[in-house]
C-alpha cells in the first residue's frame, strides 16, 4: 500500500524530516573549501541536493553559532559576500557524522536485503 501516492503531504513531511540531517552533513562537507551562500547552494544543487535560500542561510547561521563553521565578509566582484568554511571544531564533528552516516547506510542496506 503506497501512502505516498495517497497522501502527498505526509510523504513531503517525511521527506523533509529525512533530508534535514543529511543537509547538515552535506553543507559541512561542501564547506571543507570556502564558499559563499550562493555558490554553496549552486554546488549542492549541481550534486543533486537542491536547497532553497530560506533553509540554507538560517542553517549556516545555526552551524556557525554552534562553532562548526566560521564566516567572513569579503568583497568579491565588487560585491560584499559572506564566505563560510568548516571550522577546526567542525572538522572532527564532520568525520564523526560521516562515520555515523556510513553505519546507517550499511544498516539500511542490510535491512533492505533481509526484507
Amino acid at each position: 500500500m503506497s501512502h505516498g501516492t495517497k497522501n502527498p503531504q505526509l510523504f513531503e513531511n517525511l521527506r523533509l524530516e529525512l533530508r534535514r540531517g543529511c543537509l547538515i552533513v552535506a553543507v559541512l562537507a561542501q564547506l571543507r573549501t570556502e564558499q559563499y551562500g550562493y555558490t554553496l547552494r549552486k554546488a549542492l544543487a549541481d550534486d543533486g541536493l537542491a536547497i532553497d535560500q530560506g533553509t540554507l542561510y538560517p542553517l549556516l547561521r545555526r552551524l556557525e553559532s554552534q562553532g562548526l563553521l566560521v564566516s567572513q565578509w569579503r568583497e568579491e566582484d565588487k560585491r560584499n559576500k559572506r564566505f563560510y568554511r568548516l571550522s577546526p571544531t567542525g572538522e572532527p564533528i564532520l568525520r564523526q557524522l560521516l562515520d555515523e552516516w556510513n553505519n546507517i547506510n550499511q544498516s539500511l542496506g542490510r535491512i533492505l536485503q533481509e526484507a
Binding site: 551562500g37 550562493y38 532553497d52 530560506g54 542561510y57 547561521r61 565578509w73
Partner: protein, 349 residues
C-alpha cells in the same frame, strides 16, 4: 540612465528586503538582509546573463516568490519558541479539558444555571446571566491555566523536571473491558425488584418510609404527581439490568443505563425541590402533612416541620451528589466509547 522597469524592480527588491527586515531579530537584521540581498542579486544577475537582458518585474516577482513570504523567511532565522512546549502540551490539554469540560461546565450548567433560573422571576435574564458567567469563567480559567503552564514551561527548560521520573511511580495499566459477572447482575436485579416493590407498596404502607411517624403524618398532595415517574424510573433500572444479564457482551449498557437513570433522577429531584419553594403568599409546600385529627397537636406540627426540612435537605444533598455522579458516569462512558473506537481503529489497521 536607469530604465523605468529596472527602477521598479529595484524598488520591489527593496520593499521585499525591508519587509523581511521588519520580522528579523534586531541584532542580526542588517547582517541577514545583506546576505539575503547578495543572494537575490546573484540570482538576478545569473538570470539576466542567461536572458541577455534586464529582468522585468514579473520575472523578479517570480524570484521573490520562490524565496518565500517575508514573514516565513524571517521566521526561519528565529529560534523556535513555544508558550507551551511539546513536552507539557499534552498535560496542559488534559488539565484544560478536565477543568473546563468536566468540572466548570457541569457545575455552571447543572448547578449554578438552574439555581439562578429558579431564583429569578424571569428566566431569560437568568439564562443570559448564566451564559455570560459561563463564558467569563471558562475564558479566565483557560487563561489562568495557560499562564501557569507557560511559567512551568520556562521552569521545565531549566530544571528538566520531566526527566526525573521513576518507572515505579507509573500508574497501573487500565484494566481491560470487563463484562459484569452473572451473579452481580442477578443481585442487582433482585435489589432493583425489591426497590420497585417497596415503591409500589408505599402509598398503602406509609410506615415503610415514615416509620412510627406514619401514625400522625402522611404524604403531602404533591407526591402523586411524582409517583408514576419514580416508578417508571425504577422499572427502567430493572429493565436494563435484565437486558444486561442476557446480553453481557453489551458492555456499554451498564454505564449508559446508570447515566440515563442519574439524569432522569436529577430531573425528578429538580422538580421536587422546585415545588417545595414558597408560594407567593410565602407558604412552603410541605412533603409531609399532619393527619386529620392531629392538626391541633403542636408537637405533631413541629415534628412535621422538622421532617419537611430534613426531606428538603436530603433532596438537595442527593441532587448535588447525583450531579457529581452524572459527571463521573459521563466521563466513564466517554472513556469507554473512546477505547472502543481506538480498538476498532487498531483492528482496522
Amino acid at each position: 540612465m536607469t530604465q523605468p522597469s529596472q527602477t521598479n524592480s529595484q524598488s520591489l527588491l527593496d520593499r521585499y528586503l525591508h519587509a523581511v527586515r521588519f520580522w528579523l531579530p534586531k541584532a542580526q537584521q542588517q547582517d541577514i538582509v545583506n546576505e539575503l540581498s547578495e543572494d537575490l542579486h546573484a540570482q538576478i544577475e545569473e538570470q539576466e546573463s542567461a536572458l541577455k537582458r534586464p529582468l522585468n518585474e514579473s520575472e523578479l516577482e517570480a524570484i521573490l516568490k520562490r524565496c518565500g513570504s517575508p514573514i516565513i523567511v524571517a521566521s526561519r532565522y528565529r529560534p523556535q519558541k513555544y508558550l507551551i512546549g511539546p513536552a507539557l502540551f499534552p498535560i496542559w490539554q488534559f488539565v484544560l479539558k478536565l477543568v473546563l469540560v468536566w468540572v466548570l461546565l457541569p457545575i455552571l450548567v447543572v448547578v449554578i444555571g438552574p439555581a439562578l433560573v429558579s431564583a429569578s422571576s424571569r428566566w431569560q435574564p437568568a439564562v443570559w446571566q448564566t451564559f455570560s458567567m459561563l463564558c467569563t469563567v471558562l475564558i479566565s480559567t483557560a487563561a489562568a491555566i495557560t499562564i501557569v503552564f507557560a511559567v512551568l514551561e520556562r521552569l521545565e527548560s531549566r530544571l528538566r523536571l520531566l526527566d526525573r521520573w521513576n518507572p515505579h511511580s507509573l500508574p497501573p495499566a487500565p484494566r481491560t473491558e470487563k463484562r459484569p459477572s452473572r451473579t452481580q447482575s442477578v443481585f442487582e436485579i433482585i435489589t432493583g425488584v425489591a426497590g420497585l416493590l417497596w415503591l409500589l407498596a408505599l402509598p398503602h404502607y406509609p410506615f415503610l418510609v415514615l416509620g412510627p411517624l406514619a401514625e400522625f403524618l402522611k404524604a403531602a398532595p404533591l407526591w402523586p404527581r411524582f409517583y408514576l415517574p419514580m416508578a417508571l424510573l425504577a422499572i427502567l433500572g430493572v429493565a436494563y439490568q435484565c437486558v444486561g444479564l442476557f446480553r453481557p457482551q453489551w458492555t456499554w449498557l451498564p454505564p449508559a443505563g446508570r447515566l440515563l437513570n442519574t439524569l432522569l433522577s436529577l430531573a425528578i429531584l429538580h422538580f421536587l425541590i422546585e415545588l417545595s419553594a414558597p408560594t407567593q403568599a410565602g407558604i412552603w409546600q410541605p412533603y409531609v402533612v399532619v393527619r386529620e385529627g392531629f392538626e391541633n397537636s403542636a408537637q405533631c406540627v413541629r415534628v412535621a416541620g422538622l421532617v419537611n426540612v430534613s426531606v428538603l435537605l436530603s433532596l438537595v444533598g442527593t441532587w448535588i451528589g447525583l450531579c457529581i455522579a452524572a459527571a463521573v458516569q459521563a466521563w466513564r462512558l466517554t472513556r469507554q466509547i473512546r477505547e472502543r473506537i481506538s480498538q476498532a481503529h487498531l483492528r482496522a489497521i
